[in-house]
């Protein structure tokens, strides 16, 4: 045979949403996995969630606890988590305490107890929590324990592999300790960290090493909830399959706006609607959604500045009953807990809703609110985050309308925030102008990529039935100053 035969290594699904994608397809069977991080980072939860997802009475898991957190306390708190099934303890998941052996500082005794328990139970999974404690005890009591320790780790790794178990070593390590022998021996290293920035805490996971897999690079946000751990993979935009755009135009739902946009919004575009407070951005966005629903499409709205209930109450101005549409699975209004959000969580939430509903229209209302909702650590990367968010959404073929509040439209000749406009296909800019002593609202189509569009400014009104485009301001000049001047009455065909 000329072709090289590859050994198929069975993948073990972790049972942690998002983690298999980060690992490049789950854990390798019989792998030796090191889960490292500071106290409270979520290491125990990660391993127990994997174990409870996989262990059975026929293929049980042995969970060795050492010093540190008392086992009773660990069981008390871990069983609060959704994945922890007390009925499967100890038939599928057996907790074995190694405190006495670890306290003796005798690595052989620790090894022998593990070996005896493994031989007795024939487990498919073995976890040692915390491996670091065993190491710490040994090193504290030995003049030169490093060689013996390396030997112990190597011996354990060899045995665990030949015993045909998938193993987890949980350890508290600092970044500077990555030269520890266990890092060389481990097949997989997952590093959990916690960043505290002002009042916000974000948890991140990094697949430092995954033998036999092609893991996703970078830091991935994760959350620990009552259900357990959930990872939000940081998906590079280019890795996603892109849906080719068609030539379809989507109605905006605002009378008169479609003709300004050359027949509507090109399907699959990213539209940015900017304007000052009260200019009607949400009203325009709501009409965009209502028209889509009316045309039989499904839609997703991500709101950041108000609760979904308030949004739905305000949406009663349109003819379509949004609450009814939610009930019929045609509309999703997502609201994510603000102030400690990562862009990946928002993306996962929206993508999940888009996939669930088969949505074609997405509204993000607003970018300003989204930025505030992000944890401070992510705000510095807002541009890059938004780029990934928009790229990932449009790759699925949806049309995205984002609103953004600008304090003063056209400041210094700019129509939008520079940080945002580069990712958009179309830009609509709203602003206030003073005409004959009255504050009027005007809109212009600033940009439409690859499409003809109106270049004039047009007034619009926010009526009880929604936004309606009004007359053109083609006979005015200096509109961008906010105080336009009448330059002449247009002359009709009759002179």
């Amino acid at each position: 045979m000329n072709e090289k035969e590859l050994l198929h290594i069975r993948a073990i699904a972790t049972g942690i949403p998002g983690l298999d994608a980060v690992l490049g397809g789950g854990l390798c069977e019989y792998s030796f996995n090191l889960i490292a991080g500071a106290p409270g980072a979520g290491k125990t939860t990660l391993v127990q969630q994997v174990i409870f997802a996989n262990a059975t009475p026929e293929h049980p898991a042995l969970y060795f606890t050492v010093l540190g957190e008392p086992t009773i306390k660990m069981l008390r708190y871990q069983r609060q988590l959704g994945f922890f099934d007390a009925a499967r303890v100890p038939s599928s998941v057996r907790f074995v305490n190694l405190a006495a052996e670890a306290a003796s500082g005798n690595l052989d005794a620790v090894f022998d107890r593990i070996a005896t328990s493994v031989a007795d139970a024939s487990p498919a999974f073995v976890a040692v929590d915390s491996f670091r404690t065993i190491v710490g005890e040994r090193r504290a009591g030995a003049s030169d324990g490093s060689i013996e320790l390396a030997h112990f780790v190597n011996r354990l790794a060899q045995q665990l592999t030949t015993w045909e178990v998938t193993s987890f070593l949980i350890g508290e390590y600092a970044d500077a300790e990555q030269r520890h022998p266990v890092f060389t021996i481990a097949d997989t290293i997952l590093w959990l960290s916690e960043d505290v920035d002002r009042n916000s805490t974000t948890r991140k996971l990094r697949a430092v090493k995954v033998r036999g897999r092609n893991p996703m690079p970078g830091l991935h946000t994760f959350r620990l909830t009552s259900a357990g751990m959930r990872v939000y993979p940081r998906i590079p935009e280019q890795q996603r399959r892109r849906v080719l755009r068609g030539n379809r135009r989507l109605a905006t739902g605002v009378p008169g706006l479609d003709e300004m946009m050359g027949g509507g919004i090109p399907s699959g575009d990213v539209v940015l609607l900017t304007g000052p407070a009260g200019s009607g951005k949400t009203t325009f966005a709501t009409q965009f959604i209502a028209t889509g629903l009316d045309d039989g499409e499904s839609c997703v709205v991500a709101v950041f500045e108000e609760y979904p209930e308030a949004y739905l109450a305000r949406a009663k101005t349109v003819a379509v009953d949004f609450a009814d549409m939610i009930g019929r699975g045609r509309l999703a209004v997502t609201y994510l807990r603000p102030l400690d959000l990562s862009v990946d969580e928002m993306l996962a939430e929206i993508q999940s809703a888009v996939e669930r509903l088969g949505a074609t229209r997405v509204v993000i209302d607003s970018l300003s609110g989204f930025e505030v909702a992000l944890a401070p650590t992510y705000r510095a990367d807002f541009r890059e985050s938004l780029y990934r968010l928009v790229g990932a959404l449009t790759a699925t073929g949806v049309t995205v309308l984002m609103t953004d509040e600008v304090i003063d439209a056209y400041p210094g000749g700019h129509f939008t925030h520079e940080r945002v406009s580069f990712i958009t296909d179309d830009i609509l800019a709203q602003r206030y102008v003073e005409i004959d002593g009255r504050l009027q609202k005007v809109l212009s189509v600033v940009k439409m990529r690859g499409s003809e569009h109106a270049t004039e400014f047009r007034m619009y009104e926010l009526t009880s039935a929604g936004a309606v485009m009004g007359e053109s301001l083609s006979n005015y000049r200096g509109i961008t100053t906010g105080v336009p001047e009448l330059v002449g009455i247009p002359v009709g065909p009759d002179g």
Partner: protein, 131 residues
């Protein structure tokens, strides 16, 4: 639950010495099952707490309880010799009730039951396989 832990060892026995040995075994199984999961230190703390509940009301414990290198050890046979099997049986049942109660408050009654009877379930499973 506590009664079951005793009955599974003493059922059918009438001879006082045999009952005493069976009760000692019952206690040994409880200790072993719990120590395996929660550790010797964890079990010792649990036992000490349970003792503080039952000892003041049952003088027999003065004859049963022994201290061995700071750890509680039970000499059931000595209790049976001094007070009879029935009194020791009641004392042990009270102790098991206290252990189950305390641990159930901490980790839930269902998990406690599973931990205490796991060896029993496993033995049944193994016997089933052999047949």
């Amino acid at each position: 639950m506590a009664r079951h832990l005793l009955e599974r060892e003493i059922a059918g026995l009438t001879d006082e010495a045999a009952v005493g040995a069976a009760m000692q075994r019952a206690y040994g199984r409880v200790s072993e099952n719990l120590s395996r999961s929660v550790g010797e230190d964890g079990y010792a703390a649990l036992l000490t707490r349970a003792m503080t509940r039952v000892q003041p009301e049952q003088p027999v414990w003065k004859h049963i309880r022994r201290a061995d290198a700071g750890r509680i050890r039970l000499d059931v046979a000595a209790g049976v010799r001094g007070h009879g099997a029935q009194v020791v049986d009641q004392a042990l049942e009270s102790l098991f009730v206290a252990i189950v109660d305390i641990l159930s408050d901490l980790i839930g009654a269902d998990m406690v039951r599973n931990l205490l009877t796991y060896d029993e379930a496993r033995r049944t499973q193994d016997n089933g396989r052999r047949q």
